[in-house]
Each structure stands twice: as C-alpha cells, then as structure tokens.
Amino acid sequence: MTRLGLRNCKALERGASVTDDALEGDTLVAPLNEALLKRAYELMYFTRLLDSALVTWQRQGLIPAYPPMIGQEAAQVGSALALDRDRDFVFPTYRELGVAVAWGVDLSGYLANHSGHWHGGRWNAAESRFAPIQAVVGGGVTHAVGWALGRRLDGASAVAIAYLGDGASSEGDVHEAMNFAAVLRAPVVFFVQNNRWSLSVPLERQVAGGSVAARAAGYGIPGVVVDGDDLLAVYQATSDAAAHARSTGGPIIVEAMTYRRGPHATSDDTGRYRTIDDELSAGEDPLDRLLATLHEAGIADDAWLAEVAQNAEVRVEELRLSTAGTEPIHGAEMFDLVFAESTPQLQRQQAHWREESDHV
C-alpha cells in the first residue's frame, strides 16, 4: 500500500492492508511548482468562500438546499488539478464544488442544480468534460468505467476520475465498477473521499474493514491511501494514479482520508448524531495547512493573500447575483429533452400543459 502525506490521519491507523504489487508503469509527475501551489491555494480559498456563501444563501432563501464540502478542499482541488482538463473526464457526486471550481466548470451553471433550476446542473457536460451532478449515491461510477474503456479503445490516453464517498463504497454498483474496470482494463481513478460520515452513519458502521482502498488488493489493482487534507499529498497521489491509469490502461483506487466538517446538507442537524469531540477529530484545516506550507516556502506574502481574498469575494458576489438573477428554465424544456425528437404523446401533453397552466 502506498501512503502519502500522512501527517494527520487517525483513520489510517486502523490498518488497511493494501498492496501495491500491481502499481506499475507510474511516471512521477513533476511536483507542484510554486505557481501551481499558489493556484491551488487560490482555488481552495475561493471554494471555501463560495461553499460558505452557499450555506448563507440557503438560509436567506436564495437556494433551497446545499450540501457543504467544507474541509474537503484539499482533496477536491488537489485531485482535480492532477488531471488533464483537455483529455480526462470527471464523474462527480453532489458534493464536488471544489472539483468543479478547479476544473473550471461554469459555476453559475453548476449552481443551477443547487438552486433547483435544473437537475444535474446547467453547464455543458460534454464540453466541460464534467458529468452532471449525480443524485444516486454510486450511480455514476460505472459510467466512468465505460467512458474510460471507450477512450482506451479509441487509443486515447485519457483517464476518467470517478468521485465517490465512503458511503458510496457500500453500493453494489461501485463493486461492479471496480471489477469491470480491472477485468476490462479501463483507465479509471476511483477517487474516494473518505470523510468518515455518510449522512449520520460513521465510517465504522459503513465500511467493513475501514478502508475502501484496502479493497483494491482484492481486485488485483493498486490502492493508495492519502491524507486528504494535505493538498500536496493529494496532488501527488492523484498525479501518480492518473499516470498509472494512463500508462497501463487499468484502474487504481485513491482514498483521501478527510472529514465532513459541515452538516450532510443544509437541512441536516449533526447534533443528533455526532459530538463536538467527533468534530474535533477532524484535525487541522486543510487551508491552514496549505497556507503554512506556503509561508514556510516563503511564497505567500500579505499583498498576495489580500488579492486572493479580494478576487474570491468579487467572484462570489458575481455568483450571488447570477444565481439570484438566473432566468428560470422555461417549462417547455421539460418536453424537449426526453428524446432527440419529440413524440405525438409529448406534443399533445405539451399542448395541454401550455393551455392549462399559467407559465412565466
């Protein structure tokens, strides 16, 4: 088992035993250079700000609900930066704001999902190479396998990254996906954000054995556990994993140990199922940790930090305005996207709908 950057990760002591027998063909990617480190910080900072803003907007009634990802910034930004936006493809869950930010997805489109405008979001998933938000836990993981196999058959050295949670690992689909990817040779990085909670259920009542990466050995594929709150470690592990997938055409599991610092979603009341002590076990904040690294390396002065903060605020305010002002999707669109071409049934239903309800 490969373990990277394990500075502060209690869960790892529970002793997953993952082999890296099958880890071959890795090309170590150039370590994060100064510019990239700063870029990562900017993205994480902005993600944090936007994530918090979304919680506020939900309270203010601007959006109906939101699943915060606070604490998972390093896992999300670090992994997304390690992949190639021009040829790889992201299959997210519903809690991937930081991935979307780092991947450069059109964020007002992204937020349409949480605003209740359109299930799945409102960006162009094909052009952005970022699949729609997935409401079914584990539901998109097999798609990543298909996509990756498809690109391998095309001779492209493209990698799919499938995001999933510790809870998702219990779903049958995820097992089928991992076995398919290994048997059919599909270059997929299964990126598990083990944030130690699935809604109200803690890791130990969810994942037998305690580690999803520990299951890699059972599939004869490499599995890596990484400190998910250490941006550098996540970036490095995911870069290596992507390089492995790209060069061997086969899959790999990366499990980023992190903590869901916020509620499951804005409607959730964590007080019902976890204590302050639980929450304290989250450890040091991933942003603080990266900032400390930047300071140590002497590459973050106050002026730059102020600029980062300032830029983030401006962008968040823009997104607030765009979210508040988004044109609602016209109801007619419901009928237009069922099939490539409408059917007589849909046309008739649409006509009824047009006549019988008031529309904006």
Binding site: N113, A168, S170, V201, M334, F335
Partner: protein, 342 residues
Amino acid sequence: MSDATVTQRTEDDALALQPIELSMQGALNLALRDALASDDRVLVFGEDVGVLGGVFRVTDGLQADFGADRVFDTPLAEAGIIGLGIGLAMAGWRPVAEIQFDGFVFPAYDQLVSQAARIRTRTRGAFDMPLTVRVPSFGGIRAPELHGESLETYFMHVPGLKVVTPSTPHDAYHLLRASIASPDPVIFMEPKSRYWNRGVVDRSRPDAIGARLVRPGKHVTLICWGSMVARCEQVAELAAEDGIEVEVLDLRWLTPLDEDAIARSVEHTRRAVIVHEAPLTAGPGAEIAALISSRCFRSLKAPVERVTGFDVPTPAGDLEDEFIPNIDRIMFGLQRVLEFRA
C-alpha cells in the same frame, strides 16, 4: 395480576387511545412505536433511521426507546436493505425497512420484484413475507432529482406486492399498522409533501381496508390518493361554488385496488377524473381508467380523464409545479368530462 393493576392498565390503555392531533410524520412515528411495543418481532432499519431518526424524523426516538438491536442503521445499499429484510422475515422477524427516498428504490428493485414478491410462491407457502417497505414518496418539497418520484406503477404491476399510501395522519397510523401486520410484502408510500400536515388520529377506530370516500358528490368522481387528496378536496370545494358536486375517492390501496368502491362511485356519478403525479403513460391511472371504462361501460357519459405528471423525467424544484397536477389542470379535467357530449 391484581384487579387494581388490570384496572390501571385498562385506564392507561383507554387514555393512550384517546384521539390525538398529530402531523402525519408524528402519526407514522406513533404507528412504528406501537408496532414495536406490541410485537417484539418487529424490527425497523434502513439508512439513517437509527441514531438520526430518519431524514424526515419518522423513526425519531425509536432507537433510544427500543434499542439498537431492533432499530438500526444499515450501510448505504438498498439491495442489501431489502435482501436483509427478506432474510430477517425468513428467520421469523417482522421487518420494517426504509428506503430513504423514492428514487432509491431502483437499486433494490430486483430484490423487491424477483425476491420479496415471490418468496411465498417460490416456497409454496412455506414462508410468509411480512416485509414492510416504507418509501417517502411523490414530489412537492423542492427536492433534488430522484427525491420526488411517484412509483405506483412500478409496484402495482408486480404480482405479490401490496401497495398503499395514506393521505391523512389517521390513515397513516392505521394503514402502517395494517401493513406491518400483513403477512405479505407491502410497499408503504409516504407522501412527503403531507408529512407536516396535522390531523386527529384515533387509535381506537382502526380503518385500513379499501378506499375511503372523502367527500360525496353526484356529478363526477375525482379519484386520487396520497399527496393528491388534499388538492382534490380543494378542487371539489371550488367546484361546489359553481354548483358542481364532486365526489372525492381516496383509493389508499393501489394493490389490491378497491374496484367495487371505484365502480360504485362512477356508476353513480357517471364521470371520472383520475389524478396522480406519476407520468401519464402506463401510469397508475391507466389501469384505473381501463377498469372504469370496462366496468362502467354502459353508464359512463364521458371518457375517463387522467390529470397526471407528464411523460418526462420528474423535473427539478423550479419546474415541479409545472409537472405536478395543479388545481387549474384538475379543473380543466373536470370541465372536459362534464362538458363532453357523446
């Protein structure tokens, strides 16, 4: 036991059975509580039903009161949950499983259709299958995708499953008790949009068989269930202002359908409108319309109308009101059957 104790017990019971005002969520919680208390073979489990008490708090407090052996959280896997329930039933338990939201029934669908529904047949009756599956159902709460689906058809077409949905707290209590008591698998669809609506629950007045006549009327029958009943009552109210007497029938059980109640009503009104959230084509209304058209062939004065969701994926919150039958659309449906001239 001394007489005093008995008397005391009886008084407690009597007190306990006083009618109480509750939300539907509260009524469901009480039904689970009473089931757990009165039958120690009842188990309650699913995702987040234990410590948390369920995302809608329907199982609130049950783990604390009945222990983590009888009320427990499972890992996040729906086929696992239903399969577990089947095995528990085979071991003599009376399992009440929760699937957290309608849209997540599908990962468990194989276990429901090919397994739970067939155990009695497959074993030639050696095993009962007293599995209750609670499914928060239907739309109306601005939830994300696959949290607002209406799955009646997916259950009604499966031989071996019973299907029921309440529209009031009183019905919620008694229908859930009846479902848990049933020796057959029951899909219990809970109308999410009605969880917080209150009403009087009278535990001393069990009422869990067949359809319920919500409002008598003579010009047209509005057939509905679950989330749509309150809306249909509103429509009936409005129509009454125009002198139209709408009979509102809450089917409650989708399997078995109370065909006699349906036929009786429509023979009387000679016109019917069916209202449901599920998409039109092959929706629950198809069976009911086919049934009425056949059984009331001679008396029907107009084609049966179906006011339903459309044949589109159930849309996001913003468009939900465009999809779910609203008062206007139901009114248009009534108008069409009332104005129809053969």
